[in-house]
């Protein structure tokens, strides 16, 4: 048996209680992504083995879902709410202003230095705060999310500039 990397051993321990054909795939993927921030090729191999699936089948299934990532997230991710209440208050302008400030063509990209990324978020029913974004970081205890409501395009520009220049989440919110 080939020597295992340390991270592979960690993944194996993480998913040890999941079984094949038991409806455990989503839970296994979530647990590993929660721990590592994304699903590496290595981790997919381990999960596939644990669930008795071909790695290609597992990847095919996992990649169907928007929330599973296969590359490390940026230091800070801006999750832009795409809901209707936000759209009524210029959330398209907020999205475009942030993308332009960060030099990105579209959502689901990162700045070259991996400091800031931007993803599409779905409405979770906090529409009294519309338009909103969430600022996310992957901390030691999994993802941490800070909702920022009552956004405006000008605030979006200031926030994106601050993040681009290395500000942390609190500084960016106050920018």
């Amino acid at each position: 048996m080939p020597l295992e990397t340390e991270s592979k051993a960690r993944v194996r321990a993480l998913v040890a209680d999941f079984r094949p054909n038991n409806g455990d795939m989503m839970a296994a993927l979530h647990r590993v992504q929660h721990e590592f921030g994304y699903l590496s090729q290595e981790s997919l191999e381990v999960i596939a083995e644990q669930l008795d699936m071909f790695p290609a089948i597992l990847y095919g299934a996992a990649s169907f879902y928007d929330e599973f990532r296969f590359e490390a997230p940026a230091q800070t991710t801006v999750r832009w709410c795409s809901g209707p209440a936000c759209r009524l208050r210029n959330s398209n302008g907020i999205r475009d202003a942030m993308l332009a400030t960060l030099g990105m063509e579209d959502l689901h990209e990162q700045t070259e230095d991996h400091r800031v990324g931007m993803v599409l978020g779905q409405c979770n029913g906090c529409c009294e705060l519309a338009p909103m974004v969430w600022l996310e970081q992957h901390g030691d205890h999994g993802p941490e999310q800070t909702p920022v409501g009552h956004m405006t395009a000008a605030r979006a520009v200031r926030m994106a500039r601050a993040l681009r220049d290395g500000a942390d989440i609190e500084e960016a919110i106050d920018a």
Partner: protein, 641 residues
């Protein structure tokens, strides 16, 4: 039941329940009439987004600093999301008062109010949740709740229990329906018939009779049946299921438990969307607590019946809200819907007979079984009985949720939400991305009952209603939904996969001011083509675009010509420097522009149109300087046909 196996003695369920109830009553009485005043922070997704944690920390700090004789706890928000973060104070006499919004800087005042300085937070008070107090109205008399029945049903525990506390649920008659059903040997058929008599139908939007659906599963062959809850509430603008799961998680568990008995299912799954992490946590905690109390597991209330419940967390795929997509997702694969039949009652989870119901459908079940079907029909209409939770958002001052009887007038809902804000009512969006875009003139005729929406080629859907004013073009909303259904297409049917790409392309091009005369017939053709898709996602995906074409014909035809009175469609206006002064504003506009499109020396600033992305940042910092100017309309398009 095979011969030789003794019928389990189910009457033990009542004894077990009584034991639990004694404990629960004592615990709940102590919570309702605490020895010291208690400040309960509303904890739910909306409260958390509004800063409930910070408020809680600040209040806790004040209590600690003063060594105040006050305790802290939690509840779920009462429905008025615009006053979040909210808190409730419960006094030893059992009076409970609702306050909001309580920011961290208000913490000292709230503690003052709780410790005897009545009036310290008078301006934050909204009403009495329980009890009466001179000068403070009952929260039930608040205009926002004026359409709700006097006694809430599905939301009866909101504000009155700690959602994480099983004992509170039991003390408020929770699991009583289960105990009586088992203990009094109600047959599976009787349970299903009660639901049919009550007229309970699927609350996810499809409106299929719940009891009838359960008949199919009960009658399905084999012993291995599965009960599945669809908690993948993906419609943007709808958060009805979230309220049930975070406000009263045991209500859903009990509904599924009764469902499992009525259909001989031993295992249940709650497929919960990833965007509700707080709901996931509440549901998982509640399941654990119910297991520990012997309500779930191998020996339900001592009867020897089995029911195991698990939460499966989705991962951002809207189409998993379609039942066969959801089932695929539970079974370790891509969440792609498949052709029906076979229906889930024939082939569901692990290819075994299964049943998929919405959260709210399940939540109604314990209430119906505990009372009876006549009680249930007291609210609603002949065509649709009962109550339903609706969530309201958009251009209204009062964003929130309420539980209202079916057949309530939608116009009244808008009124209690404070009316339309920032302009005139333009459109009502119901039923999510596969739902509808209704014109303002439909409002007086609409009642909250599915068949009332049908004449408008619309659906009522799962309970999300978005009121839109006339400041944003309906085509901007159409683009949002077109893109949504395109993104969320599973890709199996070429009609849906490619058809929605073309639909989005056309709408986007119109938004860019490049409308063509063939756009309308092409959209019609796409609409027809999409009807050949296999699942409802494809079939319903052109619906909002169709609603836009039909109900907002004037706006659509004007947009094809490049005319947009709202000036929200990118290609139909340009941003200009209307005044060179005040210079501070002009400079601020140039500085904020993310693409440096505002160029030139002071006094000679101008916008480079090719660089401008129309994000709107400059208008905020320089309202007196920057302006939108409509572009010249294109020469008239001659419609085809």
């Amino acid at each position: 039941m095979p011969e030789g196996v003794a019928m389990p003695d189910l009457s033990v369920a009542l004894e077990r329940y009584e034991e639990l109830r004694v404990r629960a009553d004592a615990e709940y009485a102590a919570w309702r009439n605490p020895e010291r005043p208690r400040i309960d922070i509303a904890m739910d997704t909306s409260s958390l987004a509004n800063g409930a944690r910070a408020t809680g920390v600040a209040i806790h700090r004040v209590i600690t600093e003063r060594n105040a004789a006050v305790d802290m706890g939690q509840v779920h928000g009462y429905g008025m999301q615009w006053i979040h973060p909210s808190v409730q104070i419960t006094f030893p006499n059992g009076e409970t008062v609702l306050y909001g919004p309580v920011k961290p800087e208000d913490a000292a005042r709230i503690v003052d109010e709780a410790t005897g300085t009545w009036g310290a937070a008078a301006d934050l008070r909204h009403g009495m949740v329980t009890g009466t107090h001179e000068g403070v109205p009952s929260i039930r008399d608040h205009e926002f709740f004026s359409l709700e029945p006097h006694e809430r049903r599905l939301m009866r525990n909101l504000g009155l229990t700690d959602p994480d506390n099983l004992m509170h649920y039991i003390a408020r008659d929770g699991y009583r329906a289960t105990a009586r059903m088992l203990g009094r040997h109600l047959s599976e058929e009787q349970v299903r018939n009660t639901l049919n008599d009550a007229g309970l139908t699927g609350r996810g939007g499809a409106n299929f009779p719940t009891g009838l659906k359960w008949n199919f599963l009960y009658g399905a062959p084999g012993e291995e049946h599965y009960m599945v809850c669809n908690a993948d509430e993906g419609d943007p603008g709808a958060w009805v299921n979230r309220v049930v799961m975070e406000g009263d998680p045991h209500l859903l568990i009990e509904g599924m438990l009764i469902g499992s008995y009525a259909t001989k299912a031993k295992v249940g799954f709650i497929y919960l969307r990833d965007e509700y992490p707080f709901s996931v946590q509440r549901m998982e905690d509640a399941i654990r607590e119910a297991e520990a109390a012997g309500i779930l597991g191998n020996d339900v209330l001592g009867t020897g019946l089995e029911f195991h419940l698990r939460v499966v967390r989705g991962a951002g795929a809207y189409v998993c809200g379609e039942e066969t997509g959801l089932l695929s997702s539970i079974q370790d694969s891509r969440g792609m819907p498949r052709v029906k039949p076979p229906f889930p009652a024939q082939r569901g989870v692990f290819n075994k007979p299964s049943n998929v119901n919405n959260v709210e459908s399940f939540a109604n079940v314990p209430l119906i079984v505990r009372h009876n079907s006549e009680w249930y029909r007291e609210h609603g209409s002949d065509k649709q009985s009962g109550t339903k939770i609706f969530s309201f958002s958009g251009d209204i001052p009062r964003v929130g949720f309420m539980e209202i009887p079916f057949a309530t007038r939608l116009e009244d809902c808008l009124r209690v939400c404070g009316g339309i804000q920032g302009g005139q009512l333009k459109a009502i969006q119901s039923g999510g991305p596969l739902g509808s875009l209704l014109p303002a003139e439909a409002l007086p005729k609409l009642i909250l009952q599915p068949d009332s929406f049908t004449p408008w080629d619309a659906i009522m859907g799962g309970g999300g209603m978005v009121f839109c004013n006339d400041q944003t073009s309906v085509l901007v909303l159409t683009e949002m939904f077109a893109q949504f259904v395109e993104d969320e297409s599973c890709g199996r049917c070429i009609t849906c996969h490619h058809g929605n790409q073309r639909q989005t392309e056309i709408i986007r091009r119109i938004l860019d001011g490049e409308g063509r005369r063939e756009d309308e017939p092409n959209l019609v053709m796409l609409d027809r083509t999409l009807q050949f898709s296999n699942c409802v996602h494809g079939q319903f995906s052109p619906k909002i675009t169709r609603n836009m074409r039909v109900h907002f014909k004037g706006d659509f035809e004007a947009a094809l010509l490049g005319v947009d009175p709202t000036l929200t469609m990118k290609g139909m206006y340009e941003v200009v420097v209307a005044n060179q002064r005040p210079e501070e504003q002009a400079k601020a506009a140039a500085d904020i522009c993310p693409t440096a499109a505002i160029q030139g020396e002071p006094g000679r600033r101008r916008v480079v149109d090719e660089a401008c992305i129309r994000c709107g940042a400059c208008f905020e910092v320089a309202p007196d300087v920057m302006a939108k100017r409509p572009k010249a309309p294109k020469p008239g398009l001659v419609p085809i046909g």
